[in-house]
């Protein structure tokens, strides 16, 4: 193995993948096909209730939520080059904002997302201001510290009245509107699907335009972007805000989906999950964000099965946690597929066609 290889591949693809709009959003026809299939999926439940169970629909909803959260991180880290190891914090802000609004003000769930987006945008923007002075490692360090401190901050005594302290807040699951004949899980699925499509469409629009080019220019060469007259400070803080808003919306959706928020579900592990979603799916790739979202949910849900497999079938006396799977994957991926699954597929496709 050549030592310089992973590095070259990563930089090459980071530069090459988002350059063409086609790679950004894949082929448009394919996108419509995928969305159409996703929209029809719950209807199949009447035909094959065992294959498309309520639980599986719920899982797919959480995958979409995770995809949005990963997309949020990708906007910041993948497309703008600001490394965040603490995006779980914005997820938590989104989830808690939604939960508190529902719990204290009795706001209906569907009014929440704009409010959550606004709150998270402001929080992200404010965090982005000191982040302007931090480069590379230092930003990673600051966000790392943020990720570790979040659960503690949520437990802060003065906020207990709002956050419910260690107990958290119990919520109601959203019900289908207009008397639609949908179960809670079916409605949740559609709700997530609509939000996901809208947010990805918004991101795609932003990235293929002027602001997207500016974001990536800043990532690729900060100083050059500066000298070309791009207002790097504004772009970086606004990107931080938008990124936080995306991840916050995912947090709000998850609060609705799980109908419960508590401090300890927003720990370091959450931030790591988002990071692995980003890396596995593909840095600076929109389809990659979806793959990454699906992947994190799969790992967390199959961990028990995996653990059983290791124990019973291989016979090792170990409990394999999702954490260890994450760790090993993070390492292995950096060597064999530094551009993530999406990048890997693109590379393989190019090689096949040659």
């Amino acid at each position: 193995m050549s030592t310089a290889n992973p590095a070259d591949a990563a930089t090459a693809s980071a530069a090459a993948v988002p350059a063409s709009p086609a790679a950004l959003g894949a082929d448009r026809r394919w996108v419509w096909i995928v969305v159409a299939i996703a929209a029809l999926l719950p209807l199949l439940q009447f035909v094959m209730p065992n294959v498309i169970s309520d639980y599986r629909l719920f899982l797919m909803s959480t995958m979409m939520i995770a995809a949005i959260a990963v997309l949020g991180l990708n906007l910041l880290t993948g497309f703008n080059g600001q490394i965040s190891l603490g995006h779980g914090a914005f997820y938590a802000v989104g989830a808690y904002t939604a939960a508190i609004l529902m719990d204290k003000l009795d706001l209906p769930y569907w009014t929440l997302l704009p409010i959550v987006a606004a709150v998270c945008f402001v929080v992200g923007f404010l965090f982005g201001l000191p982040a302007l002075r931090l480069e590379g490692h230092y930003l990673a360090l600051a966000t790392f510290a943020l990720a570790l401190a979040v659960p503690q901050m949520l437990k802060y005594k003065w906020l207990e009245g709002l956050t419910g302290g260690v107990q958290g807040i119990v919520l109601l699951k959203p019900e289908a509107p207009f008397g639609l004949p949908l179960s809670e899980d079916q409605w949740l699925y559609y709700y997530c699907l609509i939000v996901t499509v809208l947010l990805f469409w918004g991101a795609w629009n932003m990235l293929r335009g002027r602001s997207g080019r500016a974001m990536m220019a800043i990532r690729d060469h900060h100083m050059a972007a500066d000298t070309m007259g791009i207002d790097t400070a504004r772009y970086k803080t606004v990107t931080f805000g938008i990124s936080a808003a995306y991840t916050g919306i995912a947090g709000a959706l998850s609060a609705s989906a799980i109908a419960f928020v508590a401090p300890d579900s927003f720990g370091f592990f959450l931030s790591i999950s988002l990071l692995i979603g980003l890396v596995v799916g593909g840095v600076a790739s929109l389809p990659g964000s979806i793959i990454g979202g699906i992947f994190t949910v799969l790992v967390q849900n199959s961990a028990q099965a995996l653990s059983n497999f290791v124990k019973n079938d291989i016979g090792l006396p170990y409990d394999l946690s999702p954490y260890s799977v994450y760790g090993i994957l993070l390492l292995v991926l950096m060597y064999v597929m530094p551009t993530g699954i999406a990048g890997g597929v693109v590379l393989a496709w190019r090689r096949l066609r040659r």
């Binding site: 992973p6 590095a7 931090l134 570790l148 401190a149 260890s324 090993i328 950096m334 530094p338």
Partner: protein, 301 residues
Amino acid sequence: MEQLIQQIASGLANGAIYACVALALVMIFVSTDHINFAQGEMAMFSTYISWQLIQWGLDYWVAFFLAVAISFVAGVLIERIVLRPLHNAPLLSIVVVFIGLLAICNSVAGTVWSYLIKEYPTPFPKDVFGMSGLIGAHQLGVVIVTLVVLTLLYVFFRYTPLGLAMRAAAQNPVSARLAGVRVDWMLALGWGLAAAVGAVAGMMVAHIVYLDPNMMAGILLYAFAGALLGGISNPGGAVLGGFIVGVLENLVAYLGNAIEKGLGVYIIGNGEKLTVALIIVITVLTLKPSGLFGRVVVKRV
């Protein structure tokens, strides 16, 4: 008043631990420009190794030195095997690899030794050297061990040819190569030393915070705060920074306690430890990124 002094004294003991971890971080930072997010978990893992050795019936100090030696070798191997191939990789890849290491150390420790909290022995005698409870015996022992470690490292780097070669490799790798220094091995040695120093910190702190796979998270954060405060490119500054944040941490808790008693208002307490560290980290990074004693590095473009 006596309580205040007591708080400061125990803050120094915590600070000693932070100083060790901060120094480990700085040793890797100055030679490779990387921030090792896995430093805390590596130290935790070393501590488990020593615990296991003690369980197998080894004497405390034998286990201690064995664990330090194992950590040193492991540190060297990690650098050679995991990080060497990523030498020119983009920053994100390297950060991700560190996070991966962190996750692996944590989960493997949890898998092998379980996530249950364990007691960890202290090698220091119980009686308090007649110091009227100002500082616990273990805490005093921690400070002494730390100071010994720091002195040894100082002597090594300052007065031995190998230490000199390591400093040279960190400062100017190209020139070091031209002076015949095997720079790659110097980096690996730096990793080994950092792992060893981290191991000492872990074994010293485990008696206080109890042994569990997550025991180092808060300590790592305070070590970061200390390293940044002192200047992450300055070993001496980082050590001093570690001691400062150790005392600061206890003073904040003491002050919060006093306010709660006097005014009946809760503002800050032990529950906000990590938040305090976060605030220190962000404040230092934004206001004075080079730290109190660090050099300002002018970046070439």
